[in-house]
Amino acid sequence: MQMMSERTSTRGSMTTTQTDAADRAAELLAKIAENRSRAAFSELFRQFAPKLQSYATRQFGNEQTAMDLVQETMTNVWHKAHLFKPDRGSPSTWIFTIARNIRFDLLRKNKKRKDDISADELWPILSEQNDSLDDGYALDHDVLMQEISFYYAQLPDAQRVVIEKIYIEGKSQQEVSDALGVPLGTIKSRTRLALKKLKELIVDDN
């Protein structure tokens, strides 16, 4: 498990710029999901389209196919933003897995037949169904909304208030920061700590 500890340290050394970019992308995804905000999507698009294009060009060595990957990936992001789960990973990792699926299908496009399996069936990351996995690891939004209230009581008040504003009232971290008069960095760390604590509580309970 040496590999894992290395990865953890990589994540630990993530720069503030990267963390801020990830938080910003998560806010944009939330705005797209809630308000179908075209401005938010345009900003996200400008951030990710060049990166996707670079990835796809290296994968396919063909500019047209690369552009197809960019367009199909970002089309999924536009329509499926509500399926992004902030507690499961960063926005860029989520977008990467969508691109990975599109690539899988594009590579098979030429010989593909009607009933052939598609990437979405193999990696159901964009499935609307709430698949329950065999333990508490998959903590999805519905679980948060319906069953978690019992666990709220066990959080420190300061963390609970932040979580309720974000998950129940649907506020962004910046809005919570403004509303409470608390620095944004503090809101972010409270969110992280609270989600971590909730996850532990639920896993232990199972």
Partner: protein, 225 residues
């Protein structure tokens, strides 16, 4: 339940990068459904792949999108309608020989691909799971006391225990155990008092070149020759 036999790190990387065949992706993905440790590892690998492939922008000057290209694509995306592919209900119950099995998530999503069960020699049953052209995996059901004569494999074979237990000369395999066999190894799978449902595949490229192609499944060269 402790799973003791897992896909290697290299295989998990290929899975996360989307570089495996559809068949191998299905078998590894089903193991991941059942295995929390590998699920965690794959999350970390996906993050690492993302950092290498997406976060680090390697600018290729000639291919950078122009502003008008960006605007054009944005327009096309806003004009697109949400693709409502008809989603099939996952079916997670499999009934066979009076037994009911619960299928893990990825298999449940693909239950409509499971073909007819056919009885092989002895106490074995097989159902094909058709994925795409030339790619197939098999569900193999071994009743209690089933034994497959010693054999080797033409290609690399992956077997995943969905439910039950079987053993060969080397070890015993239970729910969630993932076993990769290479062509050099001979083995004799058998069940004792319990039955066993497995998902098994051969490595696709070898599948194609071997010429035995679709009928080839973990045990089929014995039954179909």
């Amino acid at each position: 339940m402790i799973i003791k036999s897992h896909p290697g790190e290299g295989l998990l990387y290929q899975y996360a990068a989307g570089d495996l065949s559809a068949a191998m992706t299905l078998v590894v993905g089903t193991h991941i459904d059942m295995c929390k440790a590998c699920r965690q590892t794959v999350c970390e690998i996906e993050q690492k792949l993302c950092e290498e492939n997406l976060d680090t922008l390697v600018s290729v000057a000639s291919t950078t999108m122009s502003k008008s290209q960006c605007d054009q694509m944005l327009e096309a995306i806003f004009a697109s309608s949400a693709c409502n592919k008809q989603t099939r209900q996952p079916n997670e119950i499999l009934s066979l020989e009076g037994r009911r099995f619960t299928l893990p998530r990825t298999l449940a999503h693909n239950s409509h691909r499971i073909g007819e069960w056919s009885k092989l020699v002895g106490k074995l049953w097989r159902a094909p799971l058709t994925l795409d052209n030339g790619n197939q995996t098999n569900l193999i059901y071994m009743a209690p006391g089933a034994k497959v004569p010693e054999h080797t494999h033409k290609g690399q074979e992956a077997t995943l225990v969905i439910d039950g237990v079987f053993n060969d000369e080397k070890s015993e395999y239970r729910d969630g155990d993932f076993v990769l066999l290479d062509p050099s190894r001979t083995h004799t799978p058998e069940t004792q008092d319990e039955d066993c449902l497995t998902l098994a595949t051969l490595d696709a490229p070898l599948h194609f070149t071997s010429g035995i192609s679709r009928l080839l499944n973990p045990f089929s060269q014995l039954f179909f020759r």
